[in-house]
């Protein structure tokens, strides 16, 4: 600290978010009297351009050389204020933030308590900033390749946007074909256009794009590195089909004698063979052999597929392949799983034959599905004369999932239309609230109402086959309280469709850990900011899009896929990226060469210099966690921007303020 420390402190009102609870003028006045503080101000919105100009003006006119802003969380506006400092010629690392919104005004009821806590945090920041050092950022080049994980409509959209811009995409999908859930549907709401007609051209385009390497039947095993420079290890599972030779003629599937219930693509109501493509328009066209069910793999004989393959492309000796790719950015679009309706035994799914899930019904109505688009009861021949559709199954229910699955109301309305169109059956919709908030959605609801569907507002209590009256005999009975007429009703129907909710993928947590991101309490991937940064994550270079981030319909998923692609392209366009300047540094004077730091570093960013017998930090690899600092026995490593001196100063600032309040006879808290 050779030059005189001149600190400017700015207390933000955030409208009434902070000022409603914290006496901001008093905190600013008090901050103005702290050591080294030259100006203490409060202002309505520090993040506004006028607020930022206030800082820039003080830097220029009052020679402020360090800045403290007390406002919201640094996760929201630290970059904003760092940039303001930069613009006015103050190194961004000479800025410090006190979080008096998320961690004071919003969490404290008493105004005096909140004001005191704000003062302590401001004092801590003022004390800390005096010890902060200017740092210069390192820039590393961005690898322009992109990894997209999950090739449903979201991933396909993202991959196409990026590939069309001339950058290379590795599109990884764990199923044998791309397409995701959308490929299972027949019609899409609210337009009722054919799902396959709008999806398959995109599938074809991405599958044949010169800038896309498609890796289906593959899963990401390991991710190393950081934004701009990830190394990703992918397991390409053995297909047992030579992709060079196979033409996708389908003879193997025809000849395979082993029928297997397809509980992935056909949702358990249809069959596939042991060698299969999930559906005729699958991309890629090559089938896979399902090792678990193939007679050859189970019993050592059969090989019917091999015998009949005109191109000799069946290869039972094929092994899993481990592929390593280098990418600069990653987009996760891993989608959702269907809520398992068996968890609600009173709804009878799994025990009552004519209770279906939404996905089963989707497959049933699909012209290419197991019933060729005919709606039948479980016996496969009887056309239902009455159908009940139950909303919010496993959603908006504290016993299962608290959240609204967002798509079920519209999906149920679509089902009502399709049932009517295909069977002429009487349809009952049992809903809690009707949620149709997007473009042309409510109009669709109006249309279905006009189609003569019965709408019953009430949560279904039970679905049973225990008849109480002769007309209930042989029927599936829906017991529901109709809250609009205030009566309990029993509705005997032939078929019940459970509009089961969307859930995070069963392995979302493991995937999150693999890519270094987090999951919400419900298990969805957490975005960087729910409104302003919906596709970025807290891990730079890793983006999320579509339903893996939360329940979403197709338009929203496609929009997010494109948004994630745009974010990635903007990074690629920069050519190089600023990486963490707050890295560790070894004091070679005092380092004893014990190598303790080397064993603790999660990034192998510390090397041992044999000639000097000292540890040395490789800056480009260091991510600035500081674990080495905590481990160093001779106190020879420090983490820039989080030095002992700085953290102790911050702690002391808070402690001494609390002690001061105590001495003045006020509550320290």
């Amino acid at each position: 600290m050779s030059e005189e420390v001149r600190i400017g402190v700015y207390i933000c009102h955030c409208g009434s978010n902070i000022a409603g609870t914290v006496d901001v003028a008093e905190v600013a006045r008090w901050a103005g009297e702290l050591p080294n503080v030259v100006v203490g101000r409060d202002y309505k919105f520090m993040c506004s351009s006028l607020g930022q100009e206030l800082i820039e003006k003080d830097i220029k006119e009052q020679n402020i050389n360090r800045v403290v802003v007390a406002s919201c969380s640094p996760h929201l506006h630290e970059p904003t204020f760092r940039n303001a400092c930069s613009r006015a010629g103050v190194n961004p690392y000479l800025f410090e933030m006190a979080n008096i919104r998320e961690q004071v005004s919003w969490v404290t009821a008493d105004k005096a308590d909140a004001t005191r806590k704000a003062k302590a945090l401001v004092a801590a920041a003022v004390n800390r900033v005096a010890y902060q050092q200017p740092l210069n950022s390192l820039f590393v080049p961005i690898n322009s390749n992109v990894l997209v994980v999950g090739a449903g409509v979201t991933g396909i959209q993202a991959a196409l946007e990026i590939a069309d811009s001339g950058n290379h995409v590795y599109l990884v999908e764990r199923e044998p074909s791309i397409g995701g859930h959308m490929a299972q549907f027949d019609k899409t709401f609210p337009t009722l256009d054919c799902s396959a007609c709008i999806l398959t051209p995109k599938m074809f385009n991405v599958g044949n794009h010169k800038n896309v390497t498609m890796l289906t039947w593959s899963e990401v095993e390991k991710v190393d590195g950081y934004i701009g420079n990830f190394t990703v290890t992918i397991r390409k599972k053995a297909r047992f089909v030579n992709e060079e030779l196979c033409t996708g003629c389908g003879v193997c599937q025809e000849k395979c004698p082993k029928k297997v219930i397809d509980d992935v693509f056909e949702a358990g109501i249809g069959y596939r063979k042991a060698v299969y493509t999930p559906f005729p328009q699958a991309v890629p066209k090559y089938p896979v052999i399902d090792k678990e069910n193939c007679t050859f793999f189970l019993k050592g004989t059969c090989k019917a597929c091999q015998k009949f393959c005109p191109r000799d492309s069946i290869d039972f000796d094929q092994q899993d392949e481990i592929i390593t790719v280098k990418v600069g950015n990653i987009i996760l679009s891993t989608g959702w799983d269907l809520f398992d309706a068996r968890q609600i035994p009173q709804y009878g799914y799994g025990s009552l034959p004519n209770v279906f899930t939404s996905l089963e019904f989707e497959r049933m109505t699909n012209a290419a599905g197991p019933t060729s688009g005919k709606v039948y009861l479980r016996d496969g021949v009887t056309v239902p004369k009455s159908v009940a559709i139950i909303h919010c199954v496993g959603s908006r229910d504290r016993n299962y999932n608290n959240y609204c699955s967002a798509i079920c109301c519209m999906q149920s309305l679509k089902f009502a239309h399709l049932v009517g169109e295909k069977t002429g059956a009487e349809v009952f919709e049992c809903y809690i609230d009707m949620r149709t908030p997007a473009k042309a959605y409510d109009e669709f609801y109006q249309r279905i109402m006009k189609e003569g569907v019965h709408f019953i507002r009430g949560k279904v209590a039970e679905i049973t086959d225990a008849a109480r009256t002769p007309e209930e005999e042989g029927k599936t009975i829906v017991q529901v309280e109709d809250t609009l007429i205030g009566k309990q009703r029993r509705i005997p129907v032939d078929m019940v469709i459970l509009s089961a909710g969307l859930e995070p993928r069963h392995d979302a947590k493991q995937v999150a850990i693999k890519f270094g991101i987090s999951c919400s309490i419900d298990g969805w991937f957490i975005e960087k900011h729910p409104k302003l940064d919906p596709v970025a994550t807290m891990t730079d270079g890793v983006f999320v899009a579509g339903a893996c981030q939360g329940p979403k319909d197709i338009p929203a998923s496609v929009a997010q896929g494109a948004a994630a692609a745009a974010r990635v392209l903007s990074i690629i366009g920069q050519g190089e990226i600023e990486i963490e300047a707050a890295t560790s540094v070894v004091n070679e004077e005092t380092c004893v060469g014990c190598k303790e730091c080397i064993s603790t570093c999660p990034y192998t960013a510390i090397e041992f210099l044999e000639d000097t017998k000292k540890a040395h930090v490789i800056e480009a690899l260091c991510k600035g966690c500081g674990t080495c600092v905590g481990a160093c026995l001779s106190k020879s490593i420090s983490l820039k921007h989080f030095t002992d001196e700085q953290l102790v100063a911050e702690m002391i600032g808070a402690m001494r303020t609390m002690t001061l309040f105590e001495a003045q006879g006020q509550e320290v808290a």
Partner: protein, 135 residues
């Protein structure tokens, strides 16, 4: 009864964001804990905790990511190993090890954050002020 002075060292990625999540949910909790943000709980050296007690803190909280959730992969593994040893060292030096609190709070666990702050504050409040103990 007195109002304890507590410093909470929070990792930037999980626990600090958990505190933000508590704020976004407008959960109310005790104001005694003043937060010092560190990149990773692994950065919290024993000396930093000891220095905080020397400054007169009645309690110190160390909050990190759940094991497996660490933004840096394994930084919190070090915390998990280091802090219990530090507790033993505190005890050896006549400082009640209960004054040092270690827990894992994820970015989503706003409610847990508010709860652990209140519980730890109450626990410390029931203890003799640290400065009196050290006299």
């Amino acid at each position: 009864m007195y109002e304890p002075k507590i410093i909470g060292f929070l990792c930037n990625w999980c626990s600090y964001r958990g505190a933000d999540t508590a704020g976004m949910a407008r959960l109310k909790y005790a104001t005694n804990v003043k937060v010092v943000r560190v990149p990773c709980s692994g950065r919290i050296s024993p000396e930093l905790v000891l220095r905080t007690f020397r400054e007169g803190a009645d309690g110190v909280m160390v909050l990190g990511c759940h094991i497996g959730d660490c933004h840096y992969g394994t930084g919190n593994h070090r915390t998990a190993k280091r802090m219990p040893i530090l507790k033993k060292l505190l005890e050896y030096n006549g400082i009640d090890p209960e004054r040092l609190y270690i827990n894992w709070v994820s970015a989503a666990e706003g409610e847990k954050f508010a709860t652990v702050i209140d519980e730890f504050t109450d626990k410390i409040r029931a203890m003799t002020p640290f400065e009196e103990v050290m006299k």
